[in-house]
């Protein structure tokens, strides 16, 4: 079980750091345009998310790579990915031709991006579930793995 956890957390950690990097290398207002294209949020929320989300992704990615407080970090990753996936699915279902905004510029919202993000969500859910299960079995001494 522990080796599965390690592989999953390193995989998701790398993905989160990469997602953050693709956003941080461009002006934050560029990411705001991607969020705005979903036409779901008011301006203040678009701006707030555009400013904070890449940093949050980076922190989650680094924490996943280190394995620190894995239960909570994996749960946070799963919740974020569930939010992304729901919004993407809703927008794709409406037939919106927009950028996904997931991994930088020119990443269109298509069934392929949905499958990709769906797979990431399943991975994060498995990681969170496994982390809680292993923790319960091994006790609180295992905070870091």
């Amino acid at each position: 079980m522990l080796w599965v956890l390690r592989i999953l957390r390193i995989f998701l950690g790398v993905i989160f750091v990469y997602a953050a990097w693709t956003k941080l290398q461009h002006p934050w207002t560029m990411f705001a345009l991607s969020i705005d294209a979903y036409q779901l949020l008011p301006e203040w929320a678009v701006l707030a998310i555009a400013r904070t989300l890449p940093g949050l992704e980076l922190v989650i990615g680094i924490l996943l790579l280190t394995g620190f407080a894995l239960r909570y970090v994996a749960l946070a990753a799963a919740l974020i990915l569930a939010m992304f996936f729901s919004i993407m699915l809703f927008s794709w279902g409406k037939g919106m031709a927009i950028d996904c905004g997931c991994f930088g510029l020119g990443d269109a919202l298509t069934w392929k991006s949905l499958v990709r993000d769906g797979a990431l969500l399943v991975s994060a859910m498995i990681l969170a579930w496994s982390a809680f299960r292993v923790q319960r079995r091994l006790g609180s001494r295992l905070f870091w793995f």
């Binding site: 207002t29 560029m30 705001a32 294209a37 031709a97 510029l105 020119g106």
Partner: protein
Amino acid sequence: MITRRTATGALIVGGAALSLSAQSIPPAAGKTRGSVMAPMKVEIYSDYQCPACKQLHDQTIRPLIDEYVNKGKVLLIYREFPLPMHPFAKEAASLAVAAARLGKYEQVGDAIFSKQEAWTKSGKPEEALLTLPAADLAKIRALAKSPEVAAEIARETEAGRKANIQQTPTMVFSYKGKTYPVGGFVTWSILKRFVDDMLSR
């Protein structure tokens, strides 16, 4: 990805150098607006039958023209990208490109977008142009059927595909040698922030 392939080419328009992304082709006659000396360029890949393109045209591009293009800060380049899923989009694009050759691209483009819902139902984009003078309409009709116009649309569509354009509308901003593609409709207030942010760098 467009950004990773970024390189600049040069084109002489009106005696001034116009830098475009590597995939870009020279803008067709009558399909640019603004100064070629503008620090920022935006290419708009559009489909006249696409509702989001109409929304972008009506709500975002108009203020962009008023506040940036007309003030020499942004050069606007119109590109045709009719999607196969829209059966009358190519015909509408042909009319607009034909009008460009008479110097009436924006006038005709505005008319086509303004009556999008009606001609999408009737299947006759020409109906949007009935308010034009008869002589202009006749010229546009004739030009729209010419192979040159069809070739221009095909050329721009192909250039769009090569530039990884996958949807309409897509705006491709070029600034200081970098390109930034933006897919879908975006609100004017957010786009204005982006343009101001870029121009201040």
